[in-house]
């Protein structure tokens, strides 16, 4: 009987295009966001390539060249036809130091340097910007030195000093993005079966098919378990889709280049699955129980979307402010799974016993919720809604 209910609910669900879409589109949003963000981060890293500055007449300004090298730029001797090469895009830029540089500089005048660039080329713009920034720094330093030599405080002509403190290195950002993976998986756990959970409880009553279902010689527990299994199946499908999506997304970005020693291979996928599936047991039962209290499908949708914030908030908190994995924390559904997944991501897979503890706790909570669902199906008020008369 349980199987008959399970099979019918799944068939019904698969035919419901809206329900399928809401269950399957959502889990691929995470991987797509990953792909976008990692691609973005990788492009920052590409900017971290050493800046190459071809210089013509570098011997005229040894101090400037030494400064550029100290700042990490690779100074090369520019080829004779550097102008043409810049125009053709073969060189991003070129710096030319005229012979009278030294004379002008010594005299305390503005020494000439020429920065050759082709501003129509977007590709070379980051390099030009960086070279320009370095030159500006050099100008500021030199002017400060000149003022000090004349007994004037350099701060006089620098009313503002802006310091750029970019704490988010590309590596750190990439690690943060990766840390959001548990959140996306939690969404898959809770959203994957949500529509089916509502449709098979509040929806079943609203369309008047609950009473015909319950007059069959089937125990309420069997009805509840059959429906629950279908909701779990939908949620697990969403989890698997999300994990496959992450696998494909992460395979497309060179995580190693981002300084992340994380590899989403079979052991990691299994670890994620082992963490998520028991939570899906609980989520399915919780959603069904809550939906049974609603009068209509719409009302259940409203209740449940509010209720979903409750597990997401602590999970988001843990993602942003990691806490240590301890046994009591593992036993709290959602929190425990978030911690397990975070550990797997960090490359420190927890021992099997921890997985088992979290799974047992989530399953026990699921069983309690399921018993409650079966009890609710016995209740006249729940089965017939308010005002069972006639």
């Amino acid at each position: 009987m349980t199987f008959a209910v399970f099979r019918k609910e799944l068939k019904d669900h698969v035919r419901d295009r809206r329900s399928m879409l809401s269950g399957l589109i959502m889990p691929v949003i995470g991987p797509l966001a990953f792909l976008g963000m990692f691609t973005l981060i990788a492009s920052w890293i590409r900017q971290d390539k050493p800046l190459i500055v071809p210089v013509a007449g570098g011997a005229n300004a040894p101090n400037l060249i030494a400064f550029l090298q100290r700042q990490g730029a690779i100074v090369e001797t520019a080829p004779a036809d550097f102008e043409a090469q810049v125009r053709d895009g073969k060189l991003d830029l070129a710096l030319s130091v005229p012979e009278d540089y030294g004379k002008e500089f010594e005299a305390g005048r503005s020494a000439p340097v020429q920065l050759f660039e082709d501003s129509s080329r977007t590709k070379s713009r980051p390099s030009v910007m960086r070279a320009r920034r370095l030159l500006e720094i050099y100008v500021r330093r030199m002017s400060a030195l000149r003022m000090i030599a004349r007994g004037v405080s350099p701060t006089l002509v620098a009313p503002l000093e802006v310091t750029d403190l970019d704490l988010a290195t590309a590596e750190k950002t990439a690690a943060n993005v990766l840390g959001m993976m548990p959140l996306f998986l939690l969404m898959a756990v809770f959203m994957g079966g949500l529509h089916l959970a509502i449709d098979s409880t509040a929806g079943e009553r609203e369309r008047g098919s609950l009473e015909p279902l319950l007059v069959n010689p089937v125990r309420r527990g069997a009805v509840a378990v059959g429906k629950w299994l279908a909701v779990v199946a939908a949620a697990v499908t969403a989890i698997v889709v999300a994990l496959l999506g992450f696998m494909l997304a992460i395979a497309r970005v060179p995580l190693q280049d981002l300084g992340i020693k994380f590899h989403l291979g079979a052991p990691e996928l299994i670890g994620m699955l082992l963490a998520c599936v028991p939570l899906a047991f609980f989520a399915a039962a919780l959603e069904m129980t809550a939906a049974l209290f609603a009068r209509t499908f719409k009302e259940a949708q409203t209740y449940l979307s509010m209720m979903l914030l409750v597990p997401i908030i602590p999970a988001a908190f843990v993602t942003l402010q990691p806490i240590k994995t301890t046994l009591p924390a593992l036993l709290v559904p959602v929190l425990g799974q978030t911690l397990l997944m975070a550990d797997v991501l960090r490359g420190e897979p927890p021992p099997a016993a921890w997985f088992a503890a979290a799974a047992l706790s989530a399953s026990a909570c699921a069983a309690a919720m399921l018993l409650w669902t079966a009890r609710l199906l016995e209740s006249e008020k729940i089965v017939f809604g308010r005002g069972a008369g006639g």
């Binding site: 019918k8 369309r207 015909p212 006639g390």
Partner: protein, 244 residues
């Protein structure tokens, strides 16, 4: 065989069913007649174990339903007040689902589904999804799923309510056929013509109480009138809701 003795059910302040007793024998069509809100549906729901009575007992084939809900439900076929269908399942799938819930093996189930599809003249809608079904088509599907396990006892809550003439005729034919097969048929209605056209025995119920119980002749005789309609009015004390 359906028996109800001294059933009582209260919802908050409202007494829905008050000391109701009657019985419906095999091979007989018994009509539960009463205005809307008389307690007919609540009585049927107590018989189908969906509602627990405050007092009294309901028995199916001599079996107290409260103590044996699963066995009781196995012995009845029910067209409940709510007869919703699943919009994405076909008519045939609805009947098959009911069969599976009764634990009927696929081999036995298939020919029985075909039989019901023919019996209720639903060949043209058998493989269509229920989404666009007319009211009459919905009732046919609901009837078919109620009868898939060939129950000895059949309970129909307002089966012809809202049906057109042709569908009403089909349902009446079905009820007579079930009676001729020796089944116990109990149906509720608030339409006097419906009950008088079909019933061998009539139980009149109003405000949760049984006001009269007997064959149409007995009820006419007791009321002292040749006209059944007059008899109903005199029994109930008003013609509220009974005449269409």
């Amino acid at each position: 065989m359906i028996e109800v003795s001294r059933l009582h059910k209260r919802f908050g302040e409202v007494v829905a069913v008050d000391d109701v007793s009657f019985s419906a024998a095999d091979g007989v069509v018994t009509g539960l007649l009463g205005p809307n809100g008389a307690g007919k549906t609540t009585t049927l729901r107590m018989l189908t174990t969906l509602i627990a009575p405050d007092r009294g007992e309901a028995r199916i084939d001599g079996l107290p339903v409260a103590a044996n809900p699963i066995e009781a439900r196995r012995r009845i076929g029910v067209l409940p007040d709510a007869r919703g269908l699943y919009p994405r399942l076909t008519a045939r799938e609805h009947i098959e689902y009911a069969g599976a819930l009764h634990g009927i093996a696929e081999k036995v189930l298939r020919p029985r589904v075909e039989e019901l599809i023919d019996l209720l003249d639903m060949r043209s809608i058998a493989d269509r999804r229920a989404d666009g079904f007319s009211h009459g088509e919905r009732v046919k599907v609901a009837l078919a799923r109620a009868l898939i396990h060939e129950p000895r006892n059949v309970m129909l809550d307002e089966p012809t309510n809202g049906l057109d003439v042709m569908s009403t005729r089909a349902v009446r034919d079905l009820i007579r056929r079930l009676r001729d097969q020796g089944k116990c048929v109990l149906f509720s209605s608030h339409v006097m013509q419906e009950v008088s056209a079909l019933c061998d025995r009539i139980v009149i119920i109003a405000r949760g109480r049984v006001l009269a119980d007997g064959t149409p002749e007995e009820i006419r005789g007791r009321a002292g009138t040749e006209n059944l309609e007059e008899a109903f009015v005199s029994v109930i004390g008003s013609d509220q809701g009974l005449l269409q």
